[in-house]
Amino acid sequence: MVERSPWFDAFCHLMLVLGVAAMCLPLYYAVIAATHSLDDVLRVPMPLTPGKELLNNIQTALAQPDFVRQLINSVILAVGVTVVKIAASFTAAFAVTYFNYRFRALAFWMIFSTLMLPVEVRIVPTYEVAANVFAPLNWLLGGMIEVDLQWNLLNTYTGLIMPLAASATGTFLFRQLFLTVPDELLEAAKLDGAGPVQFARDVLWPISRTNVIALTVILFVYGWNQYLWPMLIITEPSMLTSVVGLAKTLPGVSDSVPHWHTAMASTLLISLAPILVVLVLQRWFVKGLVDAEK
């Protein structure tokens, strides 16, 4: 605003404080609840100041069956999705933007069609594929040969990670970035004697650094917070991720009383990793989110 108005300034601050309070309310309550005993939590109204039970509650939370194991699974899933997706997207975007070959258009459209197919939409057949990766092959060959190859990905890390890594968002992002890299840079590199691999490794990858970091944040949070897919493909509690594990221990809106104090402690522990990732890398994250749609 061009005019300087102290009233409007104060108004903005007021609205922001109220807004931030509303946004942080759930977290604040969770923190409070995690620091009291169950009785205190269930007292009506619940005390508004922190209690002394934080460490106790955390210990109880950590001692829940498979809790720590599930945290580890979440890390594996989040990191797995991030690494696989970034590697596959970078190379695919490079292949689709910097080379000329006959089936390029086909590859391009194949990749981008998956942007319109989030996993929730094709959930049932994707599950079937994970149950037996060779099912489509069997079906294809079924007419000619009697085949019954089996490759079961249920309850495995591969089954957990792969279908989630199978979408084009990362490729799209890298492609947008590559389109803004000046042509002269490649020409200079060619003159210097660089072939495609060297160009990608020595010039393109270092330039992509900001986008890679932003993508890392986005994918890590995405992987960590995945619910539907892990819930379907994993039936063994020790292979579940924390987010799904949490949902299973809470009966939702019903009449029974969950152990809120430990549940809140669990929630905090589970959310710690993604929150840290977002806050520590926030500058690149913001930049990446915004650049993604240019």
């Binding site: 190379t91 792969m162 809106v253």
Partner: protein, 297 residues
């Protein structure tokens, strides 16, 4: 679509580069999509032993089910409400943060962290606040005479779900709105001020038209998110209840496919959803292409 300066030949290298991505996509995304289409026009028995081609029977059946139509209606309500709420809140926050000078980065950080929260966790947190028996906000509402009970009242359940879903989306909208507000050239605002337009006038006549493209983009993204991201919230909070009050389309696809084992029906619903998403994405791409052609940013 391809850079003017590029590499020719290198067919082996290209194949090597593309194979992993294409293979994974083919096996885990494209083929399942075709499978969904295939199953949507078949009727199978519960044991998957045989299947007969039934044309559009499944679609007709699904579209005539009152529960399905109810689900479409619920989805509409949920989507519009949560989109409107989260976009307005995001825009408001962006306008305020853009204006203040002190504390900008603190406000930004405090508004950023909800992005990291899983929808399930969001559902749990809001449930904690709104639980009819002991939720803090629920108690407050009781004191004001509102008989708050999402267990029994469908509209209360829907409200709860909407609030939880919107809360999650605000950050995303906030980041984009803030960036686009900051991209508005100061010279334009100053010129309008000299021309005599007051701050409110300027907001509506200068700023809003300039952020229209990003608003449109966010609209599509929010709608798609509302369709799909809401699944965990529903599953952890209400499971579609009470009595179908929060039974949105994506939830039905899952329920019919995995719980009720109605493969044909679930696939038909999948296909309908697919078409919706494709339509939305195509519209969005077209719009962006047009925007680029007209050279605006």
């Amino acid at each position: 679509m391809i850079k003017r300066v590029h590499f020719e030949g290198n067919t082996w290298l290209v194949t090597l580069l593309l194979l992993p991505q294409l293979l994974v996509l083919l096996v885990f995304a494209i083929l399942p999509a075709f499978q969904a289409i295939k199953q949507s026009v078949m009727m199978s028995d519960p044991f998957g032993q045989y299947a007969t081609f039934v044309g559009l029977e499944n679609f007709k059946a699904v579209l005539s089910q009152p529960e399905y139509l109810n689900s479409v209606w619920r989805t509409l309500i949920f989507t519009s409400a949560s989109t409107a709420l989260s976009m307005l809140a995001g825009l408001a926050f962006a306008v305020f943060v853009d204006h203040v000078i002190r504390g900008k980065s603190s406000y930004k950080t405090l508004l950023l962290w909800p992005y990291a929260i899983s929808p399930v966790v969001a559902g749990v947190l809001w449930l904690f606040l709104f639980h009819p028996l002991y939720g803090a906000v629920a108690l407050m509402l009781r004191q004001f005479g509102v008989d708050w009970n999402p267990l029994l009242e469908g509209s209360h359940a829907m409200l709860l779900v909407i609030v939880a879903a919107s809360w999650k989306q605000v950050t995303y909208n906030f980041v984009f709105f803030l960036a686009s507000l900051q991209a508005v050239p100061k010279s334009l605002i100053e010129a309008a001020a000299i021309d005599g337009a007051g701050p409110v006038r300027r907001l509506f006549n200068v700023v809003f038209p300039l952020i229209a493209p990003i608003t449109f983009f966010l609209l599509v993204i929010n709608v798609v998110h509302a369709f799909f991201d809401a699944f965990p919230i529903i599953d952890s909070l209400t499971k579609g209840g009470p009595a179908g009050a929060t039974d949105i389309m994506v939830y039905r696809v899952y329920y019919d496919g995995f719980v009720a084992q109605d493969l044909g029906g679930s696939s038909a619903q999948s296909v309908i959803l697919m078409l919706l998403v494709i339509a939305l994405t195509v519209i969005q791409f077209r719009y962006i292409e047009r925007k680029i052609k007209y050279g605006s940013k």
